[in-house]
Amino acid sequence: MNDAIIQINSPLLTIERLSIAYEPGKYAVQDVNAGIKKNSITAIMGPSGCGKSTLLRAINRMHELYPNTEVVGKIFLDNENIFEISAIELRRKIGMVFQRPNPFPTMSIYDNVIAGYKLNGKKLKRSVKDEIVEKSLKEVALWEEVKDALFKRGTFLSGGQQQRLCVARALAYKPEIILMDEPTSALDPIATTKIEDLLVELKKDYTIILVTHNMSQAARISDYSMFMYLGELIEYGKTKNIFSNPVDKRTEAYLTGKFG
C-alpha cells in the first residue's frame, strides 16, 4: 500500500485503475485509484497539464463526446460501475460547473435554472418549476439579486453571478455529486470568495469534486486534496495533513512553490 494515498472508508465514488489517453499510447491520466468521501469537498490540484481536468471529466463521461479519447478502468457510484449505465442517466446524477461561466445565451435566467428538466423532456407544472427555480437560486445566494429579472437573459449578469447561475443550473436536477472544473479561474477575487463560501455551504447536501490550480483555494475550502503530476496521482489525503506534512517530495516541492 502506498502511504501517500489515503483509503476512504465507505466512499460515495470509487475510481479504480483509471487511465485516459487522448492519443493511442499517450496517457494524460495513468492508473489512478481513489475514493471520494460523501458530503465533502475533494480538491484536485497540480500544475497545468497534469491531468486533473481530464480525471474530472471522466467522472461524468464527458470524454465520450470526443471519440478519439480512450478511457480504461472503472468508476463506481453507489456500487454501480458508471461505464455500465447510460451516460444520460449518469450525467443526471452528476452535475458539472465549468471553467468559464456558460449560461445558455438564448435562455432566460429562469429557463437556465430548469434547463436540466427541459433538456430531459420532463414536463413540470408551473408551480413546481417556480419552486425549483426559487430554491436553486436561493441555494447559490442569487435569488435576491435576480428575482425581479428572472425572465431576462442570463448573459446580462456579471461573471460571478453567471457562474452562480451555472451552479444553480447544476443543482436544480438534484445531483449526488457536483464536478467543478476551476470554477473561479475566470472570476475576480470578490466573486471567487462568494463561490468558495457557497461551496462550503453546499457540501451539506452534495459531494463536491473541485479541480483547482490555486493551492490556497484548495487549502481554504477542501476537506481532502489530491495532488497530480504528469498524469499520476502522487498524493491524496486530508487537506490539512497534505499542506502541513506532505509525504511525497514532489507534493512538497509543488506546495512550496518550487514548480507549477
Partner: protein, 283 residues
C-alpha cells in the same frame, strides 16, 4: 516619404477606385433607366405588358419581377431541407471527421461548376425527364428553373450555415450534455437556437445569389414574358429577359431593360443588406 505612408496611399487609392466603380455603375444604371421611367412612370413596375411593336411600344417589369421572386423563393424552399441537414452533418454530427472533410469539399465543388453547365444539365437531363413523366409538355418552366437554381445555391447555404453551426461553443454543448441531454436535445435546444440568426442570414444571402442567377435560368424557364401561370408554367426572370433581349434592343426597349437591371440591383442589394444585418446580431 516613408514606406508606411506609401502603403497607406496605395491602399486608400485602391479603396477609392472600388467606390468610384460602384458609384459609376449605379449612375449609368440610373441614367439609362430614366427614359423608361419618364415614359411609363411608376406603372413600369406594376405593368405586365411587354409590347415592342413600333408606335405602340409599352413595357412593364411585373412578369419579370414575379418570375425572379417566385423562382428564387421556390429554389430556397427546395434547397432548405438538403442544405440544412448537410450543414448539421458537417458542422455538428461529423464535425472534424474525415467524412465531413470529403463531403465539405464536394459541396464546395458544386459551387465551382459554371452556371452554363447547370443549364445544360437541366436542359438535356431534367427537361426530357419532366416531359417523360408528364409534368408538362415541354419540360421547361418555373419548376425546372427553380430546381436547378436550388441545386446551385445549396453550396452557399450549406457552407455559410455550416460555419455558423460549428461556431456554437463547445462549452455550451458540454453544459447541456452534463445535464443529461441527448445529442438530439443538444441540437434542438442549444445548437439551433444559438445559431438561428446566423443560419437565417445564410439563407437570406443565398437568396441574394439566386435572385441574380442568369444563365441556367434563362435556359430553363421558357422565356415567356408573362406572369407565371402556376408552378409548372413558363415565365421569365429579370436577369434572363435582359440576357435574351439586350442584343437587339434600342431606344425605349433598351432603357426598359436597363430599368429592370436597376430594379434587380436594388432588390439584390436590399436582400444582401438584410442578410448582413441579421448576421451581425449573432451572439
Amino acid at each position: 516619404m516613408n514606406a508606411e505612408k506609401v502603403t497607406k496611399y496605395i491602399l486608400t487609392f485602391a479603396a477609392i477606385i472600388i467606390v468610384v466603380i460602384a458609384g459609376g455603375m449605379a449612375f449609368s444604371l440610373f441614367g439609362g433607366a430614366v427614359p423608361a421611367f419618364k415614359e411609363f412612370g411608376i406603372k413600369f413596375i406594376f405593368s405586365s405588358e411587354w409590347n415592342p411593336t413600333e408606335g405602340r411600344e409599352s413595357y412593364g417589369a411585373l412578369p419579370f419581377i414575379a418570375g425572379t421572386l417566385i423562382t428564387s423563393m421556390l429554389a430556397l424552399i427546395i434547397c432548405f431541407p438538403l442544405a440544412f441537414s448537410t450543414s448539421l452533418f458537417l458542422g455538428e454530427y461529423f464535425k472534424g471527421k474525415k467524412i465531413a472533410g470529403i463531403l465539405g469539399t464536394l459541396v464546395d465543388l458544386l459551387a465551382g461548376i459554371p452556371s452554363i453547365v447547370y443549364g445544360l444539365w437541366g436542359f438535356y437531363v431534367l427537361k426530357p425527364l419532366f416531359v417523360n413523366i408528364g409534368i408538362n409538355e415541354h419540360g421547361l418552366g418555373i419548376f425546372t428553373a427553380s430546381l436547378v437554381l436550388a441545386i446551385m445555391i445549396i453550396p452557399y447555404a450549406t457552407s455559410l450555415s455550416n460555419e455558423i453551426i460549428s461556431m456554437v461553443p463547445d462549452e455550451l454543448k458540454e453544459a447541456a450534455y452534463s445535464l443529461g441531454a441527448t445529442r438530439r436535445e443538444v441540437i434542438t435546444t442549444i445548437v439551433m437556437p444559438t445559431a438561428s440568426s446566423g443560419v437565417i442570414a445564410s439563407y437570406v444571402l443565398s437568396l441574394g445569389r439566386a435572385l441574380g442567377e442568369t444563365m441556367a435560368v434563362t435556359m430553363l424557364i421558357g422565356n415567356a414574358n408573362i406572369i407565371p401561370k402556376g408552378l409548372f408554367g413558363m415565365g421569365n426572370t429579370m436577369a434572363s429577359v435582359i440576357a435574351n433581349q439586350f442584343g437587339e434592343a434600342d431606344g425605349l426597349k433598351l432603357s426598359s431593360l436597363i430599368a429592370i437591371g436597376l430594379l434587380l440591383f436594388l432588390i439584390t442589394a436590399l436582400v444582401n443588406f438584410l442578410g448582413k444585418l441579421i448576421m451581425k446580431r449573432i451572439y
